[in-house]
Amino acid sequence: MTKKTIYLLTLAALAIMLLAACSANSTNSGGATFNGSYSPQNASSSGADPAGSAANESTHPAAQELTYATAKDINDINPHLYAGSIPATGMVFESLVENTKDGIKPLLAESWDISPDGKSYTFHLRKGVTFHDGAPFNAEAVKKNIEAVQANAAKHAWIKLSAKIAAIHALDEHTVQLDLTEAYYPALLELAMTRPYAFISPNDFKNGGTRDGVTGYNGTGPYRLVEHKTDQYAVFEANESYWGEAPHLSKITAKVLPAGETTLLALKKGEVNFIFTDDRGADSIDVQAMNQLAEDQNYQIVRSQAMNTKIIAANSSKSDSPVAEKAVREALWQSIDRETISMDIFSGTELPAESLFSSNVNYADIGLGKREYNPEAAIRLLEEAGWKSDSRSGIRSKNGRALSVKLYYDAASPSQKTQAEFIQSTAKTAGIGLELVGEESSSLAKRRATGDYELLFNQTWGLAYDPQSTISAFTAESSYLHTTKGIHQADELYGKINEVMVSKDEQSRQALYREILTIVHDEAVFIPLTNGIVTIIAPKDLKHISFKQTQYELPFEKMGFQ
């Protein structure tokens, strides 16, 4: 009898161990099947590979090395295309100007003049700048780069500037002139973006351009890419001949790890020592677990100010769906309890958002009406619109069609799933049935571009892009065209968007933005949830951690250990 008991106990223990092992593995295999980019080598212990040894050293403060975890490989960081990881691209390549908290600042261009008609920009380039391969950064290089970008204009349709560049002339060694077809006020903002108007050494061009790929990644930035093993790691080293202040961190390694618990464990073990909200990096880790880590070990948590707005985009152009109807979108808006989402799901780290852009975004402080959490109001709206309640299923219907909508969320983001489930439960009290579908982020992007969705979790692009680029994206098929196309003033909206981009004076611009934002707010196609932030977990002795004006990049060159 006792023998049997021991046997059973051993069996039970074994079963539990097996189950635990299975759960860790299945996360990986899920990634393998759907990303196609995951290689099993990642999972192997990293003792032998350079990234692993780098990680071990970098836990030592004197080493001035950082290893960050990234869910996806840095990929092809050609700055004129969009495949690469943005933080990695931002470390290696630079643009003419930089978008900062205080507006546009010089970067590779020391100063610039704008002609009175706003159609011609003359940039005076910084002298003595060289690419990582030693090639000089001069007017000729700028001309070649911009022409290479323009040769692939269709790819850059989301940036309106690409359609407005008429010509670029190298006036002398350090002066270039950019001619536009018409005055375009966000020109400098778009030139400041990480891509596509960033500069790569002309020696790296393939077939005289960059559209077919590049042969190397020599930019002018503070870091150069020295080693890249696809789906394993990428190593960046400080650029000794950097024109600006030399970066403190001598080496940065981007290590590919599945987001979530794997990353958290890697932090605990010191395999990586830095993570941030990139591809959900820090977003997919439980807030409490993060706090615990910071308490127990030598880590600090740094949070940025509000960067963007997390939204649910409603596909107004899907005419066979209930969300094509304004009343349904408004009712859904009013049946979301943002306070609870902010306090309970995000533990107060993200604040509730009441409109597409928060009031600290340029041109967005226009006092739009609040639609607060109010289930009764939602019910009233639906009743008025003719959606009758069905006491049996609890889901309203109209003309035999049930008020049941699909909400797509990122399956890799536990916080999105929790929010979706919470919204589902509150929407149900108003009689709206939400069907939750969790998918890969790339599949969500595809749905957004093809319009094959009803409701979709999304976010605005960050302070550097809001409002102008996000609003331009209302007209771009790959972004929010399907979201906005179905509202009845759509043509008027698109007309105003085109108008605001070429408007010359501040006053008319303000007026136009006000009208645009009022239309999308009234139509409730972008249902705001919270204001998203960037979260960093870093070693406690890492100083000068700051943020850029976008959630996609970090100023690594400013950080350093004491």
Binding site: I16, S23, G260, A289, E421, F422, Q424
Partner: protein, 297 residues
């Protein structure tokens, strides 16, 4: 009847059988057993520990874990049982046809089985999900589509052994139609074999469906499912590890009970213990055990 005598002889099998029956009953009558509605959200009780009102505590939306566990029996156990029955039925149909009629029918069906069995089950299930999208029903469809061939194989072997026996030949001679011979004379003797193979794959199917739900490919929120509950607990596994216990233990217990029961069946129905059946049957069992091992791996 035979079942009862097995139970009488093997106490451990009786315990497992009672446990499984109780689980199935709880699943069927979930609304009466569950103390709370499984989808009732109480954000203020997020991650609350066990209490008298909520015996197993609350999950990330403040829902009652115990109620979700009980409602989770439906997809995790009952629907798996349904899918299993469907694929055993198809497999039995094909197996009887192949084993009884032989000849071209046999060749055709068995080559079809070869084709089906040459694909790894997991990959095919993933392919079906890839085409039809995530969802419990799609996984169940994939199970039925993939597993019948295996049952057909085994049932055919079993039928072959009896279709040459004297009483079957005699029935044929009398001019009884094939269908009634199969139902009257072949089904009763092959039933034990069918019981053993289907019970042994029941456990692995429960594990698979929980695995797929764990990956987010199975049942969609807010419905409760054990694998999905494990996945939900995974994101807080370092701060609230206890949330993994309830669904984890439930899966372990049910799968163990199924496996112990199936082992008992196999032991009890072993030909060496049954005088009325020829020894060479053993071969059929060795095939089934081998396949079972592959299935679990």
């Amino acid at each position: 009847m035979k079942l009862l005598s097995i139970m009488r002889r093997d106490k451990w099998a009786a315990v497992c059988f009672t446990f499984l029956s109780a689980v199935i009953a709880a699943g069927i009558f979930a609304p009466w057993f569950a103390p709370h509605p499984p989808e009732e959200v109480h954000m203020e009780l997020r991650f609350a520990g066990a209490s008298w009102t909520y015996w197993l505590g609350n999950d990330h939306l403040g829902r009652c874990v115990l109620s979700r566990l009980i409602y989770g029996i439906r997809p995790s156990v009952l629907w798996v049982l349904a899918a299993l029955s469907a694929s055993v039925a198809i497999g039995a149909f094909a197996g009887f046809a192949a084993g009884y009629f032989r000849g071209k029918t046999d060749v055709l069906l068995m080559r079809l089985c070869d084709v089906m069995l040459s694909f790894p089950g997991y990959v095919m299930t993933l392919a079906v999900i890839g085409i039809m999208g995530p969802g419990l029903e799609h996984i169940l469809i994939a199970f039925v589509l993939m597993k019948w061939a295996w049952f057909a194989r085994i049932i055919r072997t079993s039928v072959l052994q009896y279709s040459n026996s004297d009483y079957v030949r005699f029935s044929k001679m009398l001019g009884l139609p094939g269908v009634s011979i199969m139902i009257r004379h072949l089904l009763p003797v092959t039933l034990p074999d069918i019981l053993v193979v289907s019970s042994s794959s029941f456990g692995s199917m429960i594990l698979q469906i929980s695995g797929f739900s764990f990956l987010g490919l199975g049942i969609q929120a807010p419905n409760a499912e054990w694998g999905m509950m494990l996945n939900e607990a995974r994101s807080v596994m370092f701060s609230k590890p206890e949330l993994m216990l309830a669904p984890g233990i439930a899966i372990v217990l049910v799968v163990s009970a199924v496996n112990f029961l199936s082992d008992s069946f196999q032991r009890m129905l072993d030909p060496r213990l049954m005088s009325s059946r020829p020894i060479r049957l053993k071969q059929g069992f060795s095939i089934s055990t081998r396949l079972k091992e592959r299935e679990v791996a």
